[in-house]
């Protein structure tokens, strides 16, 4: 319990570091967002209008007042109004995009982790064998291919040439979101290629990680004892070795969430998928700073939540942590 509390305290602190960074980065850069917007009107604004723009970006008053105001806004989940989709509040766009990104990344991360870990277990168990010496290097090299390239190739082959999959969007335009079988099927159909392109570049990492940790564990005394007791291969492999080897995997799974969300950016761009990445790119193009800043906070928050979940999983899987 103490362990979990300590972790929660750390996450809160980390979140405040992110908020503070988000507050200071625009202010140490030359020309803050409000100055940019004011400059773009080329002197056609009067004093009151300038003051109003500055106030809406929170750049009036002393630094300390600005900071407190910003923290308050963040805690209320109030990220201002989007300049792209003008009257919409930024937060509603943010959560709309995040939902679709979550669909993509959620499916991709689950499959990548399962496939990679299973392959890693197999490779470590038959280490030095055919599967290990051929697929381990290949899978890890796939990891070093850019998501951009993989996504473009899949898009070209299956969407443009073969036309097996749609050219974009998260679901067909005629359908409205519901929990019906038809709608979910349609969403999965649209998500197939984007998920596949994230999957291809990410499962190799899990393969290598699991394999390396497993190989180190295979010579441990408890494994030799388990085999000497005459336990079945299956039991030693999964209950003894894999169960211990998966602990560091779960920790890095949580840490990789941020990386994967970043990778989804490129995929969504290629497949024209209405996720967070797509909105972020639009926001970059139109200099919608409140959205750009809010996406960092939202992504940081999701990484922290993922880490918290991995802590709980670690406590469940590793009895040693329950005492600490």
């Amino acid at each position: 319990m103490l362990y979990i509390l300590r972790r929660v305290a750390f996450y809160l602190a980390a979140f405040f570091v992110a908020v503070t960074l988000n507050f200071f980065i625009p202010r140490i850069m030359p020309g803050d967002p409000s100055a940019r917007i004011i400059a773009s009107f080329q002197g056609r604004l009067n004093e009151a209008q300038i003051e109003a723009i500055r106030a809406s970006y929170g750049t009036t008053g002393s630094m300390w007042e600005q900071y407190l105001g910003y923290v308050g806004q963040v805690l209320r989940m109030d990220f201002g109004i989007s300049t792209v989709q003008f009257p919409e509040p930024t937060s509603s766009l943010l959560f709309y995009g995040a939902t679709w990104t979550l669909v993509l990344v959620g499916i991709a991360i689950t499959f990548a982790f399962l496939i990679g870990t299973m392959m890693g277990i197999h490779a470590a168990w038959n280490r030095g064998g055919f599967f290990d010496s051929v697929f381990t290097p290949i899978n890890v090299m796939l990891n070093a291919f850019t998501p951009a390239v993989v996504a473009l190739l899949l898009f070209y082959a299956f969407s443009l040439q073969l036309q097996w999959f749609p050219l974009g969007r998260a679901h067909s335009t005629g359908l409205s979101p519901s929990l019906s079988f038809e709608f979910i099927g349609n969403v999965l159909y649209h998500a197939t290629l984007p998920v596949l392109s994230i999957l291809i570049v990410s499962f190799g990492g899990w393969h290598l990680g699991m394999r390396n940790v497993m190989i180190n564990l295979l010579n441990e005394d408890f494994v030799i004892l388990a085999r000497a007791k005459g336990l079945s291969d299956r039991r030693v492999r999964y209950r003894y070795v894999a169960r211990n080897a998966i602990l560091p995997q779960i920790t890095s799974l949580a840490l990789s969430v941020g990386f994967l969300l970043g990778g989804a950016l490129v995929t969504e761009q290629v497949f024209n998928y209405p996720g967070l990445g797509k909105f972020t790119v639009t926001a970059i193009e139109s200099r919608d700073y409140s959205f750009i800043q809010a996406q960092l906070l939202l992504l940081t928050m999701s990484v922290l939540v993922a880490n918290f979940l991995s802590d709980i999983a670690n406590v469940v899987l590793d009895p040693r942590l329950r005492k600490g």
Binding site: F10, L160, I215, F259
Partner: protein
């Protein structure tokens, strides 16, 4: 050496009967041949053990050779092409031909020239950010692990924060505020966000080294702290530093490509990432101009694959069990032929 053992055993053979011969223990040279263990070439004995281990590692050396070829190709780019990567060199979307080995882009720029020149910036950003991140990680990891106590608490907090802060979104915030994020800006930000992993592994390694005899004896002899760090601890961290460097370089090259691809980079710079960006914007695939997409893509993939192979070799050096696992099949087969149990593995 081999001759002597052979003559010795053959003179012995005359006096032994056939039954005894069958059970005679094979010489270690025969054993090595049966297990297919090659003797290390003599010249490696002058190198330090970890360097020798790397030089004799096939995967690692293959990676180094590919990487050196890529680096040479981009450094010597002007020798390979007379075109300017920023200027129009021919008609738009010319297919690969004698004048344009890899065709031209929609803007009529020579793709081959762009790949060569783009490599300079992409590789420089990648290696620059990778080296810087590994160096920061090394400094912070060793300090945290060696000094311990309050210093460790504070540094570990920052390491953990850097680990949980998502790198790419943070770069997007910074890059969107500077007007166009040139390669230098991207490189600096990647270095500042990428040192978490190396710092973490190096700290753990330092913690386990700190209590070893050779460090303790250096402390008892009254060595200065910085001298212990540089002379005793740092040499043992070299392979972890290299590992961090290689991984950092891969992720920096990929991140640069991703950022440029979504249009955050400086569109006038020529890097592999911006080439992909223009290819995507110009609908190169839709119009069948595959030569605009494939060359930068293959360049990135080759570099990535080479770095992964080097990382495999570094992994095997830092973690000898991984290397041992390569010969395990042969050893098992060997034991079975001798009628011994191979179940211990």
């Amino acid at each position: 050496m081999a001759d002597i053992t052979q003559t010795a055993s053959s003179s012995l053979l005359d006096r032994l009967d056939d039954a005894a011969l069958a059970s005679a223990a094979p010489t270690h040279i025969e054993l090595m041949r049966e297990l297919r263990i090659k003797q290390k070439p003599g010249w490696t004995s002058r190198l330090s053990p970890s360097v020798a281990a790397f030089v004799t590692n096939k995967k690692g050396m293959a990676g180094v050779i590919i990487l050196l070829a890529m680096i040479l190709f981009s450094i010597l780019a002007p020798m390979f092409s007379e075109y300017n990567p920023h200027r129009r060199a021919g008609k738009p979307h010319v297919a690969p031909s004698y004048e344009h080995v890899l065709g031209t882009t929609r803007m009529g720029k020579d793709v081959y020239t762009q790949v060569a020149y783009g490599g300079r910036i992409s590789l420089a950003v990648g290696f620059g950010a990778g080296i810087a991140a590994a160096a920061i990680g090394l400094a912070i990891g060793i300090s945290a692990g060696y000094f311990g106590g309050r210093v460790d608490d504070i540094l570990t907090f920052f390491v953990n924060v850097v680990l949980v802060l998502p790198g790419l979104p943070l770069i997007i915030v910074i890059a969107s505020l500077v007007d166009s994020a040139g390669p230098l800006v991207i490189g600096i930000v990647l270095a500042l966000t990428g040192w978490g992993w190396p710092a973490r592994t190096i700290r753990t390694q330092t913690l386990s080294l700190r209590t070893r005899e050779f460090v303790l004896s250096a402390e008892l002899m009254g060595e200065k702290k910085w001298r212990i760090i540089f002379k005793e601890i740092f040499p043992n961290m070299l392979s972890f530093f290299m590992g961090g460097l290689v991984l950092g370089t891969i992720s920096a090259i990929l991140a640069e490509a991703a950022l440029s691809f979504i249009g955050l980079g400086d569109p006038n710079a020529v890097t592999w990432g911006t080439m992909l960006y223009w290819a995507q914007n110009n609908m190169a695939l839709q119009t069948g101009a595959w030569w605009e997409i494939w060359p930068p893509a293959v360049a990135i993939m080759l570099t990535g694959a080479a770095l992964v192979m080097i990382n495999f070799a570094v992994d095997e050096i830092t973690n000898p069990q991984l290397k041992a696992s390569r010969g395990i099949r042969r050893i098992k087969r060997f034991l079975r032929r001798r009628g011994r149990s191979a179940d211990v593995f």
